[in-house]
Amino acid sequence: MALDIPSPTAPQLTASPAAVSAALTTTQVRVTSSFRGARIVLYGAVFDPTTKPSDVVVIVRGPELPVRIARKTKVAGVWVNSRPVVFRGAPGFYMTASTRPLEEIAGFGTLRRLGAGIDHLAINAPFEQHTETRYGVRDVVVSRLGADYLDWRRAVVRLKENAGLYDADDKGVTFVDTDLFKAEIDLPTEAPIGRYQAEIILFQDGQPVSRKVRSLTVEKAGIERTLYLFAHRSPWLYGLVSMAMALGAGWAASLAFRRN
């Protein structure tokens, strides 16, 4: 599986003596047969010689996987899936936690630059796009999805939100002491396997002044991992073994019942 961490380019930080530091209480989430989701807890501290009011934003991103999405359209009275469209840049998991709603912390441009907030994710469908010359302007990006493009993009976000994979918690970061904060982020059972990245950004006066990145991995462990690897590394043997088990079970059951 190609699991890349979406790596946002390190943003320009405003020069300031303030700094943020943070640590995850767990850096490895093990998905075993009893996995029912996990809670990621992060503690951090703000070092600031001045006493400017600060805001903390924590962004947790999961591995990026292309999203295939189709729209249902009515054809001859039957609802049929359209040709699937592939969107790229959508993290498999995306959760923001902050001390206040993001739009109160910073302006639109800043958030967009940082990719902070679901609305500011760079999700697009490159295969549907091509460049052409329009009105004498060269290299204009045109999407084959046309005016519906935003509907498609919104649907990607909406479906991910419904699955509990995208969310924003504007009270997710709480100060437990003057300079010590805590953030909690819940991973649902459906959270994808792979490397995650937690980005902690300190804002003052609507500008990012300090940023730290921590990573964690969500990985299958124990028997789940063994079976998953078996199924993907030697699929034919896996198929034969599981079928042999099935036939054996059927045979054993009929033997057991014959004795009775």
Partner: protein, 306 residues
């Protein structure tokens, strides 16, 4: 007790799945069918990705069919030669079906084709079976003698070349119709995640005119061969067989199948057929009618094969 499935990547309630396997196994033993047509839709409703449900079902169907076939063999109710001919077609059908399913998933049309197949095949077969069995029940209730069975077989069955003797079925017919039937059922098995008994049994009775006593056992025998192959192919080509899911289902399934086979002798054949027809019809309608209603959410995420 919830269990995280390694391939399906969802968490499921394990005792519930075992119970479901037992219930479907019971129905399977009672009516002499694989039961996949019931189990696959239920699994999808429970949130298992359809591709995994369809593929893992093959293991469950193979297990419960094996468990029943052994009992039928003891009663000498399996025509192995006919089963072998059907399975020959089934092998070709399964290989084609797995590739067709793979292609449909790439095109994003797997859901549609599965739903339509359920609506059409289950709807038609359930409807016909219901009418036929109700007629015989009514005839018996009103004291009329049972309708004499028309033993006139369709002439084309005899006009075709490549004739072969099937002593246990007391038939001397061309192998072309059973082979074609096998191919068709093999494709269905891969695409719909079913054994295909609901197509095979009526086809063997009404088209091939096999004696009723050997129909069920022979159909189950052919289903074992076809679904074993489908299961291995789905695992090898698509990596969609969830061994944990399959095991949970078949533990209940094989036990249920035995109990069902025992219970079947307490009911009259036409009553069983009427009941089965109702179940088949309901499942077909449940799966297919969704296609006609305006969906709440016009967009769908395609899982797997990114």
């Amino acid at each position: 007790m919830d269990l995280y499935l390694p391939i399906a990547e969802v968490s499921v309630n394990a005792p519930l799945l075992v119970a479901l396997g037992a219930l479907v196994g019971f129905i399977s033993g009672l009516f002499g069918i694989g039961g996949g047509f019931l189990m696959t839709p239920v699994l999808v409703l429970m949130g298992i990705p359809p591709a995994v449900a369809v593929a893992s079902m093959a293991n469950h169907v193979a297990a419960s069919s094996t468990s029943s076939v052994i009992s039928y063999t003891r009663k000498r109710a399996v025509d192995f030669r006919m089963g072998g001919v059907l399975a020959g077609g089934g092998v070709v059908g399964a290989i084609v079906g797995v590739e067709v399913f793979r292609w449909l998933r790439l095109m994003g049309q797997a859901d549609l084709v599965v739903a339509l197949s359920y609506l059409i095949f289950l709807g038609v077969i359930g409807g016909l079976m219901l009418v036929e069995s109700l007629q015989s029940i009514l005839r018996r209730r009103s004291g009329q003698p049972p309708k004499p069975r028309k033993d006139r077989r369709p002439p084309w069955l005899y006009g075709l070349p490549l004739k072969m003797r099937f002593p246990r079925s007391r038939l001397y017919i061309s192998v072309i119709p059973p082979v074609l039937l096998g191919v068709f059922v093999g494709v269905l098995s891969a695409v719909m995640g079913v054994g295909g008994g609901f197509v095979l049994v009526p086809a063997m009775v009404y088209i091939l005119r096999m004696p009723a006593g050997v129909v069920v056992g022979t159909s189950l025998f052919q289903i074992i061969i076809t679904t074993s192959l489908t299961g291995v192919l789905q695992a090898g080509r698509n990596q969609t067989v969830d061994i944990v899911l399959a095991t949970l289902l078949l533990v209940g399934g094989v036990l249920g199948a035995q109990l069902g086979a025992k219970a079947s002798s307490r009911f009259r054949a036409e009553e069983l057929r009427a009941l089965l027809a109702l179940i088949v019809l309901l499942v077909g309608l449940r799966m297919g009618l969704g296609l006609f209603f305006t969906p709440d959410e016009p967009f769908v995420l395609m899982t797997g094969m990114g």
